[in-house]
Symmetry: C5
Subunit: 322 residues, 5 copies
């Protein structure tokens, strides 16, 4: 599905071609920069774009199949970039991943989206309002997209951070069921790590490549994005460590709680065994048991049971077993 298809001349939206053919024509005549934005294209849809713009079949195959790792590959004149945008869903407290494939040529940029990434529309709008940026060509558009994707990792990191704090509260608040949430969170952290770590490496290689086509300004921009990705990966790594610790802490607290329970139960058992012994004693059939003939023998026995039990109760309460 074609989401958007426009030609930019001198940083301004010059034409909105009615068909892709017009776009190719514009590209061929180098009349400007074309930006074609596709959503989950079928093989057939995409093959025309690929052929016209000379995209490499391997990259095209990957872009159609999706499920790629974040990477950055050079195919002749064309740069192929895979990004994994992430979004934190507040309702379900989960992270949603999508995929954006970007082909960057000298006179065109093609973006292929898998999953909901409304951010691309935003990037286009922002760029259209800053013609001096758009004028720098397709590479500047790529950098703006990468910047946007990486910036959007921020709220995800924050969301996960809040989740971890909630889990800590649960764990220390005595919710033994926290195990499940810890596990699910650690699973998301592992997936997030997989989405961001390779990107850091790819950006570093890009920033340090001896390509002439990258002007120093763009290099600084890439380094800035790189620093932000590194910050994200380092925070994820620290989340991973904290979750791994919280798993052990939770296990320990479960054991501590079991100790407390055992103490409580034993205390009650001790309190309840005393009346049993006393009733046993006065149930013995000795001929000479003076208490049995006392007028208040029975109330005395009952009082004995209650009072010893009370003393024990207070004792255990003080020892914090109850």
């Amino acid at each position: 599905m074609i989401v958007d298809n426009a030609i930019y001349v001198d940083g301004r939206r010059a034409a909105e071609p009615s068909s892709l053919e017009e776009t190719y024509e514009a590209c061929r005549q180098r009349r400007g920069v074309a930006w074609i934005d596709l959503y989950k294209p079928t093989e057939k849809e995409f093959s025309s774009v690929a052929q016209e713009l000379g995209l490499h079949p391997l990259a095209v195959e990957d872009a159609i199949r999706a499920h790629q790792r974040p990477r950055l590959e050079r195919y002749g004149e064309t740069l192929f970039v895979v990004l994994i945008p992430a979004r934190y869903l507040d309702e379900s407290e989960t992270v949603e991943f999508s995929e954006v494939h970007v082909f960057v040529g000298e006179y065109f940029i093609v973006t292929v989206r898998h999953g909901e990434v409304s951010a691309l529309g935003e990037v286009r709008r922002r760029l259209e309002s800053e013609p001096e940026l758009l004028r720098r060509g397709p590479r500047a558009i790529l950098h703006a997209i990468m910047d946007r994707v990486v910036d959007a990792y921020g709220p995800v990191v924050e969301g996960l951070g809040t989740d971890i704090e909630e889990i800590e509260a649960e764990v220390f608040g005595g919710n033994a069921r926290a195990s499940r949430r810890i596990y699910e969170l650690s699973r998301e952290v592992v997936e997030f790590q997989r989405a961001t770590r390779p990107l850091a490496g790819a950006l570093e290689r890009l920033a340090e490549s001896h390509e002439h086509s990258i002007d120093p300004e763009a290099r600084k921009y890439i380094r800035d994005i790189h620093a932000h990705v590194l910050r994200v990966t380092e925070q994820i790594e620290s989340f991973r460590q904290m979750l791994s610790n919280v798993l052990i802490v939770n296990l320990t607290l479960v054991s501590v709680r079991q100790n407390d329970q055992t103490k409580k139960i034993s205390a009650w058992a001790a309190i309840l065994i005393v009346p049993t012994i006393i009733t046993g004693i006065y149930g013995m059939n000795f001929e000479r048991m003076p208490e049995l003939t006392w007028t208040f023998g029975y109330p005395f026995a009952l009082a004995l049971m209650v009072s010893i039990s009370l003393v024990l109760y207070v004792t255990f309460k003080r020892a914090e077993w109850l």
Copy 2:
């Protein structure tokens, strides 16, 4: 055992030599590209092939003995590649590994299979239907084989992913016996890691080698395969982390369940001790125990037992101990 033996001229299956001798002859005259496909050859069987095509004795020894790690070695003009294809067996939910050794020369390619790898036949059929690929020579065949092997890791990764989800369901569903499946799965993940990680390194070295014999197109192809292997190894690594977490979570849940059980048992003990105490009281031999002479003393005692027990039952039920 010779599985297949054919000569390709200009990308088409030109001859099916009746004996290996004819194949060698064709190779010597550089009449085309020979592809010899062997299955668990004996030392004797393989030695003729090796001698005729000038394969290096060390590589030959490794190919006969099998049990190699995935690797990629240059022996003079010949490239020696070891691949560990993997297959996910649905019935047993296990991963089956086999081994393919490939010798790539200028005019020949020899494949040696250990274990069932039907994929090679498929690769041959696909290549025979794409003469323009076959025409590029033995290296193109090697890349097609590597591509097929790496592509086949996909379903294995998916299978393992599904297994992990099943295990999660088991663990959180309270099946304490999950330990065994977690362990077995982690064992398979470790083995899979061993089969794929060295391949990533070997492909990276190949892609970055300054060999002239690799044309830029082939290099892009290798990089693509490399990216796929990396994706597989990263997912396996994340599986390893998740399984390691699931082990601790399972241990915690076992403890949580023990806590629940202890609570339940203690609640029942408390409920049952009350009748014991009451029977004890009315079993005492005091001369003056008014209840003993009541007409409804006995039913009263029974009712007392039942009602106190009931109150306790409801109390524990509300406290979620039962």
Copy 3:
């Protein structure tokens, strides 16, 4: 907020310009070195400084937004450094992090603070008392700031070390609640690691860069700071390992304590069951039970209960179950 704004000529505080305009003027005429110190500047406040001194917009954006990782980036002639000073708060036994962004040009240095970092004022005072250092220019000021920040990590490491020792005492002293403190401490250690580890890498790159602007003396100074940061990161790493061990040890001790408790409880149960059995025996209704008719039958039974219980008590005491 402008904290301080001064111009240094030949190592001495030459002028205290009443406005930033005077400072820019001085810079332009290269009359000396300007040091502008800002506290949480608004975008508007900072944009004038940035424009006048030609700071790079990307670095400026990062400096205003804060929440950066420690790093060191070159933007043309200007060096951009992010530092994460840390302070150990004795009262709460926690580590407080702040952020300092430094822009170093040929004739100026701009420091942007986020959070309380009184250290910068101290650095200025020290430098003003050592004109020969100040004379070396903005780079020397940067090194002095980095040195101060890294030196201040020392007390934090000590504070954390003391905390770990306290926790060890708690754990081995039997405080099962130590889990929470272990976890909180490990969280701080992880954050501290995040604040210092990237700094080590940045300093190493700086020390080994082939820049001409760094004189050998400055290089030695950087290496010295680098060695100190490495010492800090190595100690933090060892803290991390120790805390991870202490988590397991704590878990083990919780289990050991449970064992001890179970023993104690069982011993008491055994001691209390004996009187129950004896009262049961003399409560049987056999016609011929000689003890029942003894004169001292009842005291004998009581004595029997007490003495067997005492024997058991002593036995368990000796076996260290009680």
Copy 4:
């Protein structure tokens, strides 16, 4: 102790000198290649060899003291190699390590053994039967020794693999005592790792060194040995991971078994408490308890006890508590 001392000319055992002096003489005249094989030489014994052949004092000291890590060092013209052969002892199911130090010069090779390494004799016999190999000089002998040592790691890896499988069977078979064997095995795996990992690095450096003295054929041989060592180290690493998982699994299974036990015990407690309550009821002294006067009151009570207990037994059996 001199184990063997021979001179090889043109790949054949030319002379068996009666004393080391003759050997040195032959070396000096470059009449052939001398191979001196020593077993735990004393400092005195070895010093004559070292002086005559110009071995470096540092290497000599290490060779006498033993307890070295596997390594490969160049001392001028002489190469000094330390190998740690390993042997799997079936009876005790342990791994035995020994040590071989090899000095390789242009016209001599000196092997120093610490511990039982019968393999060296085997290598010599094999080489003497392949003169074309021996003819290549001392380096070829070194490679043959390294090959033999690395090949012998194979059975050790297999032995450890079998041990791990046995341990898995024990753990899942419910043998709680498996902890000790897991620990002992992990200890051996760690030691084995220490014996092989540095060797991989040393071989890699050797294979990639730009020495002219290594002919391409030898380089291929070294790469082959390197690949085998890598395979061993990767398997050991996977053993380490599996043992670490088995430790946790075992801990979990111990807890699971405790749960099962608690259930079983509690079920029996419940079954046994019922008769206690019934006897208590009929032990009460109410004047009007109709059952007490029934003819079959007593058998009725007994039957009641047995039948309720049976019902409970069946119930628990069905709930798999028993």
Copy 5:
């Protein structure tokens, strides 16, 4: 405090200057090599040495403050080395660390000790008895000191190894209190790792530096020391792994022991509940209970209790619950 102060000419102790001034004078005239050995010098004491010999202020500051990590830094002509010698204290079974700072110039060597390092005196004595070594200059002295420090790690490694074996014995011998010793040992291992690992890196850089001042012989010596440090660090790493395993094993054994205890306690409970039930039965007040009127009813009941209890005891004993 000046421990020793001597001038060596041509490998022999030429003069023992009465004051440091004489030493400086000798150095200036290049009359020989001066070795000044200081113990915890005050800032004042050391500043004269530093100024005279041109030591770098940064290194001087570090040497006075101590608490450095092992490292090796070049300050112009002077080399600054920090070593962390270790000593195993048999009585307390702990490792004691000290610190040696070495400044090596062309005509002098200054050693600064923090903590008891008697080894330096030994090194001096050994060197004075080997003039050919001393003649090689200050670098040779440095290497001798490094060699001594690294050699002294050997006994520490052995001591820790013995401690680990003792702990294993304790753990498998059932001493639940082993946790504390495991933890303390792991703490020492972590500290030891911190003292040795950076040294390996520093020595490697030194051995591979392209300095002309290092003659090939010295380089071999450094490589030898490097190999020894590597051996130490690898062993420490294996200790760390073993201790981490022993922690889990100990935790498992604590659980196993709890299982055993629970079994034992439950068996006793079962044995003791039987008499309770029997006394209950004969304590029932049925009118027709034939046993009650038997002449030997009472002894029969007692015998029943004892015999059933005995049968249970034997049964549990066979099932290894007791």
